[in-house]
Symmetry: C2
DNA sequence: CTGAAAGCGCTAACAA
DNA sequence: TTGTTAGCGCTTTCAG
């Protein structure tokens, strides 16, 4: 069955397409009789407007593009879920792409998204991404871009991030409150702003508690994996004075560290406390359950979409486009892996 | 900066848009001089074709719609990843929607997807879905639909599923091979075909091993949650002759059951073995590690997209559309939760 | 209250 | 080799 067009309806009723179009959109000046006739035949022919024609006419795609490093990741699927929920309420759809943490692929997919036709872009930068010219080029075409999670100060754009500094500070302070004194940090790569912030929060907490910063207690991941967490935990334990607590930049790294510590015969949290970042669902199910800093993933998706849709609207109304930076608080989830059974058994 | 159009290029060179269009598409009959001139100015003006105009002209959206019950689910995000990888190779994009396991919402989003404009649909039915008239209606508009994971025999459409029967059979047979004799099953709701198949595989294995089917050893989930797994495990243990092994329809249910069994003081796997379905990443990390039947999620996404793209092509070529049913094997992952330490300590 | 006509940007058959 | 023309399906002036 071919899709019915305005012309089909018009022909059936002996009127013009303009009349039909108006009748369907509840225009003021239209006779009740024709309106009802049009509505009836539209119903009968199962009419639905051709989306392409409508969009071409209005110069609006009603689509937002989303680029994440990796779809198969609990944090990102949560963010995506938030995005989908918000944009669908306003009749927009979501086109999804992944960069696989590759700068090249990120350039490719953002350009493809622009070529395919989107009204705006929601992007989480890949770990490899330093330069943001590819995004600036899109902005030059009046395509609004909102960054989330991994953002860049180089780009004049709205962004939504977790308060990584505060989350990291809270995590480190919690360990220190528990009586641990030699707190190490497995940090992420230097490029994404958010892992730098976690590092800064860690340092700030040490300073606030009057503890020295010890470079040998800091390791830097490349790929931010389970395996790296394990490797660095082993490296730390080989130090003359090994740390008694580890704050890891991610849950995967934390879990890798815990696995390695157990294999080395260290008890968690008695000998070494561990705390991660992101609060994956697994954290609760592991033994010991893993303390972690929860990122408001779903809320990030929602806020980022709201900002993007606002900018799209402002652009359409030829109003000045306002950029905002939204920082959402992280929530520390204290579980077994960071709680010293009896802080001071004295 | 406004997006350049064919007309802009044409005006600059004093030719018509038709010439420009042809030059850009490497038409045979075009002078080298004009072709180069066009290419040069196109480059200079940063020309990219207006996707809407192209699509309206060719009557092709270059977009496939995807409907899953829940984006935030490791199985589905894996499937989606497979879909995205395949369709992007052919210049298509993915529009994502979720039904939240609601029949009503599934109807709404599939219609929205049709209204928005997609060339085809990849759908995993919600647990609530029994009737498939909403999908049949879309097929009537020559919109190809491919079902995956949760499918329906009511719809004449291609489908890609896990071999749930074989997976369930293997899981049950494995338990029986380990020496467990009273194997219970926590099954899913009756509607989705796949949980029925798991139930059938369970029964077939019992029969093959000459064991009776005991109705009191079967419980049926509604929501397929952690909590239900826990509740049914407790129910089983209250039986006069409780089972010594449980095959659960999903990992969440299996993990819930294990949690409850531990709380009741039963050891897993010594007193009761447990095996789940889906092989979530957590299974490996829990204590005891949880045996499970792995579904080829990424491959399901790939195969389903391949079938859909084939049908879209066939439709465009006005060839007959062929439907296929692809059944991909499940793989049993044996871990600690289902392995009797010493089968016969005799 | 409704029709006629223009146009969104691009493509393709037909002329020249 | 290039221009002319028509049209994809819809919206929106401008007339009447």
């Amino acid at each position: 069955m071919k899709r019915a067009t305005l012309r089909d309806i018009a022909r059936e009723l002996g009127v013009t397409v303009a009349t039909v179009s108006r009748a369907l959109k509840d225009y003021p000046d239209i006779s009740l009789a024709t309106k009802q006739a049009v509505l009836a035949t539209a119903e009968r022919l199962n009419y639905t407007p051709n989306p392409l024609a409508v969009k071409l006419r209005q110069q609006a795609y009603k689509v937002v593009g989303v680029v994440v490093p990796d779809i198969v990741h609990p944090f990102f699927s949560d963010v995506i879920s938030g995005i989908v929920d918000v944009v669908e309420e306003l009749g927009y759809h979501v086109i999804l792409s992944q960069s696989n943490e590759s700068y090249e692929k990120e350039i490719r997919v953002t350009q493809m998204l622009h070529a395919t036709g989107v009204d705006g872009l929601l992007v989480c930068l890949s770990n490899e991404t330093v330069a943001v010219d590819h995004l600036r080029a899109l902005q030059d075409y009046d395509l609004p871009v909102v960054l989330f999670d991994k953002t860049s100060a180089e780009l004049a754009a709205s962004s939504v991030v977790t308060n990584d500094f505060q989350g990291a500070y809270d995590a480190t302070a919690h360990l220190l409150d528990q009586g641990y004194t030699r707190v190490a940090h497995i940090k992420g790569p230097t490029h994404p702003e958010n892992t730098r912030q976690r590092f800064a929060g860690y340092q700030a907490a040490l300073t606030a508690y009057g503890l020295p910063f010890r470079p040998e207690y800091v390791a830097e991941c490349q790929a931010v994996t389970h395996a790296e967490g394990a490797a660095f935990a082993q490296q730390f334990m080989r130090l003359p004075e090994p740390p008694d607590a580890i704050f890891a930049v991610s849950d995967s790294v934390a879990i890798g560290a815990i696995t390695a510590l157990k294999e080395m015969g260290r008890r968690v949290p008695e000998d070494v406390a561990v705390i991660g970042f992101s609060d994956w669902a697994v954290c609760e199910l592991l033994t010991p359950s893993v303390s972690s800093v929860a990122q408001p993933a779903y809320a990030i998706g929602r806020r980022a979409s709201e900002l993007l849709l606002r900018e799209i609207q402002q652009l359409r109304d030829e109003q000045p486009v306002e950029h905002s930076r939204v920082v959402l608080d992280a929530v520390l989830k204290v579980r077994a892996s960071s709680q010293r059974p009896e802080s001071n058994p004295e």
